[in-house]
């Protein structure tokens, strides 16, 4: 009998596709009755085409997705296909993140995070050293970090002091640190509050003063994602606020050019929060072979495989057991990498309640979109901050209104 074919739709930011292929080859060796095909696609496909397929009741058997919550109704509940023992394993190790990927109130096991991402900053240690500026330590505030980076900028003549990726997701941790709350009591979006505005105001001012690199935020419209990583890699900015996924990238592209460190998230009055996130491997409800899918998923979620995957891809694992146990041997000879990853693991413990809620909150994207769109306009001088606040509220209300129709 022909082996059952299972298709995984997969995108790659780096080498994880190759690693996964490698692992799957091994799986097929162990399970000759299942043929797993890895369909490597662009992220765009996952974002734009997969939803269409899913809505028509089609799609692959398994997919690696980031838009976890909104499409939760399309994920297959693996629970019926797993043994009790397996269910226990899943709940124990991945249980705290299931809410990110299932509909509110459901107890489904749709999949697991291949990768936990943690928003946080990077500093160019060499630039700081050359400028003779002391790097602020743990617990330093945003103001202190920006101040220090500004000194480096002056001294080293860099283009700007720092950059935050152009993304509503990135600034939501800092917003939380400034006391922001997005979520109203009934779970719907709350109006933009003063906490949010406080950080946003700072950000706009920093940009106007030339401290934050305008190329990232100002030079784009709408919800376009822009990263400041390239400028950091080229030592154009001493400080970058991005996230853990950059570690592998920084390692390959910076190489030996300078030393860099992960700094976690600077603090605000309410805390020093970043934001967690991640990509998950989920089973698709429309599969014709749920049993086999469950077997593949369970195999991939096994501790040994998750560990190997993380070690080779330099991703943060989202496996509670592994995190607890520690001792991951990240496969990199770059001395900057292990401490950076460690710092991110540490940062994941410093998140504020809002930050913990956001990944599983239905309206997070509406909020992110409004934030990034309007803040950029304010930075460009097209609208005032007050107008931005109004418009953000309106944008979010529009999305909610439309979604509820």
């Amino acid at each position: 009998q022909d082996p059952t074919e299972i298709r995984i739709q997969w995108y790659s930011d780096g080498i994880e596709g190759e690693v996964m292929q490698d692992l799957l080859d091994r799986f097929e060796e162990e399970n000759p009755d299942i043929d797993v095909v890895l369909d490597n696609v662009a992220y765009q496909v996952i974002q734009e085409q997969l939803p269409i397929q899913l809505a028509s009741g089609r799609g692959p058997d398994i997919a690696r997705v980031t838009n976890l919550k909104e499409q939760a109704q399309h994920w297959l509940d693996l629970r019926p296909y797993l043994s009790d023992e397996q269910v226990a394993y899943w709940e124990e190790n991945f249980g705290n993140r299931f809410d990110w990927m299932r509909e509110d109130g459901s107890d489904a096991i749709p999949g697991f995070l291949t990768q936990l991402t943690m928003v946080g900053g990077f500093a160019n240690a060499t630039l700081f050293e050359q400028a003779g500026v002391e790097m602020p330590g743990d617990g330093a505030t945003w103001d202190e970090w920006v101040e220090a980076a500004a000194q480096v900028m002056e001294s080293q003549g860099t283009a700007a002091a720092f950059a935050i990726d152009r993304s509503g997701h990135r600034i939501s941790g800092p917003n939380a640190s400034f006391g922001a709350n997005y979520i109203a009591e009934d779970g719907s979006p709350a109006p933009i509050d003063d906490g949010t505005m406080e950080f946003v105001t700072k950000l706009v001012n920093w940009t106007n003063e030339g401290l934050q690199l305008p190329d990232v935020w100002v030079s784009a419209a709408g919800t376009t994602y822009r990263s400041g990583a390239d400028d950091f890699i080229n030592a154009q900015i001493p400080l970058l606020y991005s996230g853990s996924w950059q570690v592998a990238n920084l390692s390959t592209t910076i190489g030996d050019a300078f030393d860099w460190v992960a700094i976690g998230s600077p603090c605000g009055p309410a805390g020093c929060s970043g934001l967690a996130g991640g990509a998950a491997l989920v089973a698709i409800e429309y599969t014709e072979h749920p049993e086999e899918v469950a077997r593949v998923m369970d195999w991939l979620a096994s501790e040994k495989i998750v560990r190997e995957f993380s070690e080779r891809t330099l991703f943060l694992p989202a496996h509670a057991g592994i995190v607890e146990e520690g001792g991951l041997e990240f496969q990199s000879d770059d001395p900057n990498v292990p401490p950076a990853l460690d710092r991110f693991v540490q940062a994941s413990g410093e998140t504020l309640p809002l930050a913990d809620q956001l990944p599983a909150w239905r309206w997070a994207n509406a909020y992110y979109g409004a934030l990034v769109t309007r803040i950029s306009q304010a930075m460009a001088g097209e609208i005032t901050l007050d107008q931005a606040r109004e418009l953000m509220d309106q944008d979010i209300a529009d999305v909610v209104a439309n979604a509820n129709q």
Binding site: A55, A221, G222, Y368, M379, Q405
Partner: protein
């Protein structure tokens, strides 16, 4: 050659077609010639278009039509709700109006530039110069690049530490952060899109130039006509039908500009290079907003405006077209 089987095929289909022709006359033949194209066209263009219109009357975030709720003209009302149409911020969908006015200005400049540049290039490439095929390939080359790569190349050239600034520094000039400047960014989107597509239009015009009978140029030469007048009075009018293609296509593609601009400026700085298609894309597809109904409505408004523009343009070129119908 590859044409051999085709020739055979053409011979085989001839006898039945003769019968058909005898039976239905010229109108039947016209139907026959139109049919394959219109059938495919109907299924894969017209039906989706009609569906798109249906989308524009629905709301919600669901993708499939059957899951969506009908709201009538609500999306249009939302789009067109404006206190002062000249002031985008007074509109409910301020980004739509910003994008629309940006697009209008963009199209006016880009289409003029595009036509001028590709016409000049076509005229030059039509001359008997040495290395003509090489130069043709040169000017056509960018058309082969995907818009994303085009955007990327020019971003590398124009960005803060890009090639252009590098050259300016080497020449002793002050570098400039081009893409942070509203004016330069706008100019860059015009320049880059022209760069990327002019080869396309140049080819069309080149083919059109070939269709102009040579003896007319000889007659004009006997009349001692200055080159500029030859161009205005003979080349331009006789190029009419092909120029109409270029104009219409340039117009349409100008309005639909997206990928390369998206990569190059992302619509910035601020919203200064935010064009309609990016708006539609964001509203309809970017995961953060997802309002396919509104996007469909916007696309239909855009299409309607384009149809009107094109019709105006085509009726203007009717006269030259009739001259072409020799």
């Amino acid at each position: 050659m590859v044409t051999a089987p085709l020739t055979l095929l053409a011979r085989i289909v001839d006898p039945p077609l003769r019968l058909w022709q005898r039976w239905t006359g010229l109108n039947g033949m016209a139907a026959f010639f139109l049919l394959p194209n219109m059938a495919i066209f109907g299924v894969f263009v017209l039906i989706p278009l009609a569906l798109n219109f249906v989308y524009s009357t629905t709301a919600g975030t669901n993708i499939l039509l059957r899951d969506r709720s009908y709201v009538g003209a609500e999306q249009y009302a939302r789009l067109l709700d404006c206190a002062n149409y000249l002031e985008p911020l007074t509109c409910r969908e301020d980004q739509f109006w910003t994008a629309a006015s940006n697009t209008l200005v963009f199209v006016i400049f880009q289409v003029s530039l595009m036509i001028a540049v590709s016409l000049i290039t076509a005229l030059i490439l039509n001359r008997e110069i040495r290395g003509r095929s090489f130069f043709r390939a040169v000017f056509f080359f960018p058309v082969l690049l995907s818009p994303v790569v085009v955007g990327l190349i020019w971003k590398w050239i124009l960005q803060r530490q890009g090639l252009l600034n590098l050259m300016m520094v080497n020449l002793g000039l002050e570098p400039e952060v081009w893409l942070n400047d509203r004016f330069y960014s706008f100019v860059a989107t015009i320049g880059v899109s022209t760069w990327a597509h002019m080869g396309f239009y140049t080819l069309i015009l080149l083919a059109g130039l070939q269709a102009i009978p040579k003896d007319l140029y000889e007659a004009a030469e006997m009349d001692a006509t200055p080159p500029t007048r030859v161009f205005r009075r003979i080349t331009l009018p006789l190029l009419g039908p092909n120029l109409a293609v270029v104009l219409v296509l340039a117009l349409i593609r100008g309005v639909q500009i997206f990928d390369e601009v998206f990569v190059l400026t992302g619509g910035g700085p601020g919203t200064s290079t935010l064009y309609l298609t990016q708006y539609i894309y964001e509203v309809g597809f970017a995961s953060l907003l997802r309002n396919p109904g509104l996007a469909a409505a916007a696309s239909i408004v855009m299409g309607a405006v384009l149809v009107v523009l094109t019709l105006a343009q085509l009726s203007l070129s009717r006269r030259s077209e009739r001259a072409g119908e020799r």
